[in-house]
């Protein structure tokens, strides 16, 4: 039964009231040649039983490979309690509730999330989340233009370590709003920004840096943050939240800390799940909060003196500010944030630090093993967290295909990004020594 709330009689009455013959007539304005009467590429509907079967068959095609791919989304162990709690009826909605204040539990969860993510990133305020890390960067760039009002160039400079996909997305979202994105020069030895070639006097509105970088290196974010501020620019920091119990929080980078931090929240309890849904986080210094997009939950006191939670600073948002709202983003990834909040509660800072340490150990075991193979070496020198770029003496695509036949996803093909035969590998805490050794052996065999 289709969900159509109006009876034929309702429809007839409404059409009569406005003096129109049929619903079809309402679309007369659209020229006939632009209208499609049938979606030829969309198959007919399937029954629930048929669709369940189809999805089971398709899911089985994925198999259950051992995954050494990172490149922005990371496989971590998710305690069973996370999704057991997140899928309870009280929580199981993808959306911020309408009449939000009637859902105190949901609001408190978001409030707790905001508290945890501000602590992790070392900044003052957080919103209730954004769609994903990439759109988070677009929103951070747009926010920097609003908040750093003295700079009118709309120029956003990106450190070479920023995820290239994030740049594409930010360009697609913000490029048509007068923002231009330019890459800073790279030091090909370290893979990080080339400090001796930084352009002075460009008057950027913001400088974006990522830690760890896309190819897994550690950027001198203190120095780059200070350089951004010396240029009169905002510093925007993209950080993997899973690293922040061990690495310095963006709020403490350089003399003053970044102005805005954003990034991908997926590592915190959200499964890889073929690329989504994930969630983006965003935090900033308190003085910029009115330029922050998205919903913010605050704690307050009701008439009887009891603590309660409410959406706050809503005058930034489109239902009040209309066309001058800080963003069209009026929602958040509520369910993913619920999972992340439960995940962070279960692990605590110490647990997140342990995950980071174990992931680093595993990656070291993997990289040392791979670099012992003839024809494989590290692409960049310097420390890393849980991901490393490797240079190969031959194309990596055939090697990855050979590994796939052994049920191993050997890494992310970095050849296009690096301009040389290269692979990005990552071994999180989910990999056992046996997994890692099997992977190394498979590479050795494929390299012949």
């Amino acid at each position: 039964m289709p969900f159509i709330p109006h009876t034929e009689k309702d429809t007839r009455e409404m059409l009569d009231a406005i003096g129109v013959q049929s619903t079809e007539d309402l679309f007369d304005e659209i020229p006939a040649e632009l209208r499609i009467d049938h979606l030829h590429e969309v198959p007919e509907a399937l029954s629930e039983m048929q669709i369940s079967r189809l999805m089971r068959d398709r899911a089985a095609m994925d198999g259950s490979p051992v995954c050494f791919i990172g490149a922005g989304a990371y496989e971590h162990h998710i305690p069973a309690a996370v999704w057991d709690i997140a899928t309870r009826g009280e929580y199981y909605s993808a959306y911020t509730p309408y009449q939000a204040e009637a859902s105190q539990g949901t609001l408190q969860t978001i409030y707790e999330y905001q508290t945890m993510i501000t602590e992790l990133t070392g900044l003052d305020v957080s919103n209730a989340s954004l769609y994903d890390g990439a759109s988070g960067l677009a929103e951070a760039a747009l926010m920097s233009v609003r908040a750093n009002r003295r700079v009118k160039t709309g120029l956003i400079l990106l450190a070479p370590g920023v995820n290239p996909v994030y740049e594409h997305v930010a360009e697609a979202i913000a490029g048509s709003q007068g923002l231009t994105f330019e890459w800073l020069p790279v030091d090909t030895t370290t893979g990080n920004v080339a400090f001796d070639q930084l352009p002075e006097g460009r008057n950027p509105v913001a400088v974006v840096m990522q830690q760890p970088t896309f190819p897994g290196t550690l950027e001198d974010v203190d120095r780059l943050t200070d350089w951004a501020h010396a240029q009169g620019a905002f510093a925007i920091g993209i950080a993997n939240p899973m690293t922040l119990a061990l690495l310095k929080a963006p709020g403490h980078w350089g003399e003053q800390g970044v102005d805005i931090a954003c990034g991908e929240g997926q590592p915190l309890g959200v499964p890889l799940s073929s690329g989504g849904p994930y969630f983006g986080y965003m935090t900033c210094k308190e003085k910029h909060v009115r330029q922050m997009p998205g919903r913010i939950v605050g704690r307050t006191t009701d008439l009887d003196g009891n603590p309660g939670f409410a959406l706050t600073l809503q005058a930034r948002e489109q239902h009040i500010r209309r066309s001058k709202a800080t963003s069209n983003i009026c929602t958040n990834q509520g369910l993913m944030v619920t999972a992340a909040t439960i995940y962070m509660s279960l692990l605590g800072v110490e647990g997140i630090a342990q995950v980071g340490r174990k992931s680093h150990e595993n990656t070291t075991r993997l990289v040392d093993g791979l670099c012992a193979i003839d024809g494989i070496e590290r692409l960049y020198e310097g420390p890393y967290f849980h991901e490393v770029a490797l240079r190969f003496d031959r194309p990596v695509a055939p090697i990855l295909e050979a590994l796939a036949t052994k049920n191993i996803l050997g890494g992310y093909d970095l050849t296009k990004d690096a301009g040389t035969d290269a692979l990005l590998v990552c071994a999180t805490e989910t990999k056992t020594d046996a997994d890692i050794d099997a992977c190394i052996a498979a590479f050795a065999e494929a390299m012949g």
Binding site: R149, R150, R290, Q314, A315, R316, I320, R321, K324
Partner: protein, 131 residues
């Protein structure tokens, strides 16, 4: 509603304008506007030195439930802003024609008073709004 100050000029958008002795003008929002918005919680001020057209957006006043643009009643540039409002936006509610001033402007051209409303004309507008 309190008595309208007789020495000010007014706009359709509920801004007021005071002619200062040095030829500049001071701009704020009227008691009617402040009351309609409710308790103000934030004022977004322009940069000093910024040029504005007559009718152009100059500042934003925000209450818990609404945000509203403040338009420049005349063309000119921003000579000073009331920085006290950053910490104390409710000054606009408490004293809209005094401590609650928002911007002081240097005029681009000689003031054309016929473009603005006298207290009587503005009172008439308010009376019509009440009806």
């Amino acid at each position: 509603m309190s008595e309208l100050p007789g020495d000010l000029l007014y706009t359709n958008d509920h801004e007021w304008l005071r002619r200062e002795s040095d030829g500049s003008v001071t701009v704020g929002i009227t008691d009617h506007a402040a009351t309609a918005l409710g308790d103000l919680v934030y004022v977004e001020l322009p940069e000093v030195g910024q040029d504005v057209d007559a009718g152009g957006e100059m500042a934003v006043v925000e209450s818990v439930k609404a945000a509203s643009d403040v338009y420049a009643p005349v063309a000119g540039s921003v000579a000073a802003v009331n920085d006290d409002l950053s910490d104390d936006p409710e000054k606009i509610n408490a004293d809209p024609y005094g401590d609650g001033w928002i911007v002081r402007m240097t005029l681009a051209d000689a003031l054309d008073e016929s473009e603005l409303m006298t207290p009587d004309e503005y009172q008439q507008l308010l009376d019509e709004l009440d009806d």
